[in-house]
């Protein structure tokens, strides 16, 4: 019996993406259960970020299907996906450098609220929105820097703001694109515990190269290579798999 689509948080079916003659996603199918912690691994150029970009809507797939909680989102613009509960972070930090930390998180909150169209009165620093933003900053341990512009703070802290902006939206599905990239050991531990603390209402899919940290967070793993799914399944089974050793871990 075929399971109904709505059982999955995310369902990718036969996804293909080609840039001219170069096929970067070849017939990828994955299914992620609600609440799951999925790690996507693969060598550089395996098509991990390209897959994320198609899920978030930054890239249009050449063919295939993407379902978010049963809704076909394959050709939906990115902002509509956000309203369906999808949120993501970027490998290259994408924040508003001249604005304060609080404003950055506020933008994340604003994106899902009707008040974002409000144009007849100034945005208030004392509104519910601001309080909510400060709460989120507190959760990632950056409340003391709330009034500083992004350009003032260190790289490791920016990574945490990047996460805070996405978390503030309380997404149903969160895509994390290398959340640990470029961090020191101590910062890694801090971000790791933040990710571990994400509530189960949020399904998490993560691309990460730091296996030591990422494997602790993951329950299931998908290995991509040359745009194809090579192995897919429970963490331990995928790690033990011979193909994983050949393609990614080395012997």
């Amino acid at each position: 019996m075929k399971t109904p689509a709505s059982d999955h948080a995310l369902e990718v079916v036969n996804l293909k993406k080609a840039f001219g003659g170069l096929t970067v996603t070849q017939d990828v199918s994955i299914a992620v259960q609600p609440g799951e912690r999925r790690l996507i691994i693969g060598p550089n150029g395996a098509g991990k970020t390209t897959l994320f970009n198609q899920i978030s809507g930054d890239l249009r797939p050449s063919s295939g299907l993407i379902r978010l909680f049963g809704t076909d989102i394959t050709y939906l613009p990115p902002y509509k996906r956000a309203h369906l509960g999808l949120s993501r972070t970027y490998q290259i930090i994408t924040l508003f450098a001249d604005d304060t930390l609080q404003h950055n998180v506020t933008l994340g909150l604003l994106g899902l609220q009707a008040t974002r169209w409000q144009m007849w009165r100034p945005i208030s620093p004392y509104s519910n929105l601001a309080a909510e933003a400060r709460k989120t900053l507190d959760a990632v341990g950056l409340l003391h820097l709330a009034a500083h512009p992004i350009s003032d703070i260190a790289y490791g802290e920016r990574r945490r703001v990047e996460l805070a902006v996405a978390l503030a939206q309380k997404p149903r599905l969160l895509l994390l694109d290398e959340p640990l990239a470029g961090l020191s050991d101590m910062e890694r531990a801090a971000v790791k515990s933040l990710i571990a603390a994400i509530p189960r209402e949020t399904t998490v899919i993560m691309i990460e190269h730091d296996m030591d940290t990422a494997l602790d967070l993951a329950e299931t793993v998908t290995l991509l290579n040359y745009g194809r799914v090579i192995v897919d399944g429970d963490r331990d089974a995928v790690i033990a798999d011979q193909r994983t050793r050949e393609v990614y871990l080395g012997t």
């Binding site: 809507g57 930054d58 902002y79 993501r88 970027y90 994408t94 924040l95 409000q118 009165r121 945005i123």
Partner: protein, 311 residues
Amino acid sequence: MKWLGWALIAGSLLLPPLLAGDFYINLGSQILIAAIFALSLNLLVGFGGMTSLGHASYLGVAAYISALLTSKYGFGQGAAALVSISGTVAMAGFFGVIALRATGLGFLMITLALSQVLWGLAYRMSDITNGDNGIAGLTRPAPFGISLDGPVSFYWFVLIVATFAFLMMAVFVTSAFGSSLKGVRDQPRRMAALGFNPWLIRWITFVYAGFWGGVSGLLYIYYHRYIHPTSLSTTSSAEALLAVIAGGSGTLGGPVAGAALVLLLKNYASAYVERWNMLLGLVFLFIVLVMPSGIVPGVSRLVTKLRGASR
């Protein structure tokens, strides 16, 4: 120190009609009109990251509609103003759909092309627009029976409208919507991923800028009581862009300072220097070299520095 700045601004706005001669009062009115125009362009250029080289379209079309309706079709001033503004806003809505198919240089070229079309029409459709002769012999409105024919009463009228326009645009850019607009300017991809519709945000801003461009066009036609295709020309658009950049794009005071600079040079310096355009070019060059972000941000940085040094 802050009160000194406010006192200077209030003084320079309120004193001219009491102290200065007609020439300077009229110059003041012109600066305020140009300031509204530059502020509206700044919504696009500074806050939206949409550099338009066709903003004169909104000033010119609003002015032409009002001129034609009152002089040829027997409309009253009020009705003409209403039709003129609605027509300009509708045009901005339509032009926005075309121009916002592109961003950056593409956007600039489309706005330029659209404004050139209008300029060409104003020139060539001479049976309606009088072509190169322009439309003369217009009158100023008399709101609540108050005649605006004198320079002083007209100045007060323009000052009220300009103050209202400034406040409305200031609220606009500091509102939640304004935050979305600046976000879309800086990180459109991220904004879309956060749930904002970048296209719609840009389009609404485009229309809003067109609205205030139209308001400045009405004041423009009231002031000059004459309209010529030049008002729709690229030169007219570029002059406003120059004012925005020289004054400081993305700031609220910048376009006002820039508009004042351009008009002072145009009206005052041209009495002494024949090639005032060259002078304008030199001044602009100087500003770009010394204060690349514009007069207002440049001066405020200088003031902060001097204060720090005096401490």
